[in-house]
């Protein structure tokens, strides 16, 4: 169940990005990026370091303002209303927890920012911590948690307000293999268990399955968008690293949109 249904019909995309562009001073970071996410859909945003994934996420969550193009969340333009951000859950690439506060205090702070009453917040936090096996650490300062546990807390935090879109910016980077696998499995269940659209940025190809929808971003441009298996077949390539290499070499580059 989500608390942020689409504004009119179920056909309204959860996220609609059109011809998006952004520059850092004179350097073009994103150019003509268009991407649409349906409700309950998982999409992998694949790209090497420096492709523009974090910039794209910063634009979607309103930290940056686009130089060109538009972003709509559940049909609401992000530029027009600050509450258009309400259906959005975000896990940033950089760690964003307050180290001097406890796990519970961090989560309550987030819930307050999203307008959740304290009783509701406490109940959701307790459930989520239990589900992620972190209930015994609720009162521990974040500073005492290891990297994997901190990431789990951030993922819990991003879903507490039951978002209809979840953005994950390389959430598994720096984690050990079992913790990565655990987080990947948890996130993969979210579209079916919570009905939210998930946009997952990564450069770790082993996290992608053949049946996943992959949007390939390279040098600020979206080059391919489709099911991983189909992308490989269409380009007669054996695997995704070959596809990434193919794009970076500039062969048969095909801009989506």
């Amino acid at each position: 169940m989500t608390i942020h249904p689409p504004t009119d019909t179920a056909s309204t995309p959860a996220l609609d990005i059109r011809a998006l562009g952004f520059d850092y001073s004179s350097k073009q970071a994103l150019n003509d990026v268009s991407l649409t996410l349906a409700h309950g859909e998982l999409t992998i945003l694949l790209g090497p370091n420096g492709a523009g994934k974090t910039t794209l996420f910063s634009l979607i969550c309103g930290l940056f303002a686009p130089a060109r193009g538009s972003i709509s969340i559940n049909g609401q333009s992000l530029l027009k209303r600050s509450d258009a951000l309400a259906p959005l859950g975000i896990v940033f690439q950089a760690q964003t927890l307050d180290l001097d506060l406890s796990v519970q205090q961090n989560l309550l702070y987030f819930c307050a920012l999203h307008g959740l009453p304290k009783a509701t917040a406490r109940s959701r936090i307790a459930d989520a911590l239990k589900r992620m096996d972190l209930h015994t650490r609720a009162n521990d300062k974040v500073r005492t948690l290891n990297g994997g546990h901190r990431r789990r807390v951030e993922i819990i935090r991003s879903t507490l307000h039951e978002p209809s879109i979840l953005l994950l910016d390389e959430p598994t980077v720096g984690l050990d293999i079992p913790t990565r696998a655990e987080l990947v499995d948890y996130v993969r269940e979210l579209p079916s268990s919570q009905g939210c659209a998930v946009l997952w940025a990564t450069h770790l190809i082993d996290e992608i399955r053949d049946t996943d929808r992959v949007a390939l971003l390279h040098a600020g441009k979206l080059h391919h968008d489709g099911i991983a298996k189909n992308l490989l077949e269409d380009n007669q390539l054996s695997d995704l690293p070959a596809l990434m290499q193919y794009v970076s070499d500039g062969h048969k580059a095909q801009t989506v949109g």
Binding site: A84, T96, D98, L101, L113, H114, P117
Partner: protein, 269 residues
């Protein structure tokens, strides 16, 4: 949920976080208390003999130097607290926790105002402790005027906090923050009426006195001083209100996503 409740929840959440951070940083509380007390006990003890204070408004009789500098030291608490908030904003930007605040589904100006009000609450607690300590030290100040001075102190806290916010948007690294001490806090404090009345300053330099008169921090202190004695200083209050509005608008502008992060790349792509 109605909008008012959402706004109230956010204000409560930001205030609680600020208070928790304050409680967790006991050194910060001690520093905030010890700094003005040192000025009051040590500095004032040395200066009381050197400075003769004539009767100037709002005082109706001769006053001791300790009594004179209390409003200035209240301003000092607020000034340092405003800059401390600024420092914590820079820290939050570096640590990333600022993103959680800035991506909340509320208007940016409101989130910044909540942050300011939370900081003001912390400074009022520091001021209350300082006033209790000065009373225990036997200084005969107009403590009964605290209720009248409270709204003025809230306003001056917002003004100085807004200035801190504005600075935090310009300082990109914690290492650069030492410059803020040298170029903002010290000039604001020393070129004001916090430690000496302006007429005393004029005896040594007309230019210095004029600078003091233009300093918004002087007007914050004078507005507080007059309020403690149950008087309204129209000029200082007007300057305080205008400066609060200007600094807060500038802070909101500096945190506007349309211009923020545009000039320099602060996030890895």
């Amino acid at each position: 949920m109605n909008a008012q409740r959402r706004y109230l929840h956010a204000l409560t959440g930001i205030t609680v976080r600020e208070l928790l951070r304050f409680v967790h940083q006991r050194e910060r509380f001690l520093a905030a208390l010890v700094r003005p007390l040192l000025w009051l006990v040590v500095f004032a003890a040395g200066f009381r003999a050197a400075l003769g204070l004539s009767i100037i408004p709002p005082y109706q009789t001769y006053i001791s130097y300790e009594v004179y500098i209390i409003p200035g030291l209240i301003g000092m608490i607020q000034l340092f607290n405003g800059m401390q908030s600024s420092l914590s904003m820079v820290y939050d930007q570096e640590m990333g926790s600022m993103r959680v605040l800035l991506t909340a589904p509320l208007p940016r100006w409101y989130l910044l105002l909540c942050k300011l009000l939370a900081g003001v609450l912390v400074s009022i607690m520091q001021i209350a402790t300082f006033l209790i300590a000065s009373r225990l030290a036997g200084i005969d100040f107009a403590y009964q005027g605290v209720i009248l001075a409270l709204p003025v102190m809230i306003l001056s806290g917002i003004m100085l906090g807004s200035l801190g916010l504005l600075i935090s948007s310009m300082v990109k690294q914690l290492e650069n923050f030492a410059g803020v001490m040298n170029f903002i806090i010290f000039p604001l404090f020393f070129m004001s009426s916090a430690l000496y009345p302006i007429w005393k300053m004029r005896e040594s330099s007309d230019l210095l006195a004029q600078i003091c008169e233009l300093n918004p921090f002087t007007h914050a202190i004078e507005a507080i001083r007059f309020a403690f004695y149950g008087q309204f200083n129209g000029v200082s209050m007007s300057v305080l209100m205008v400066c609060t509005l200007v600094f807060f608008s500038a802070a909101c502008w500096s945190y506007d996503p349309a211009r923020r992060f545009r000039a320099s790349k602060t996030a890895s792509a």
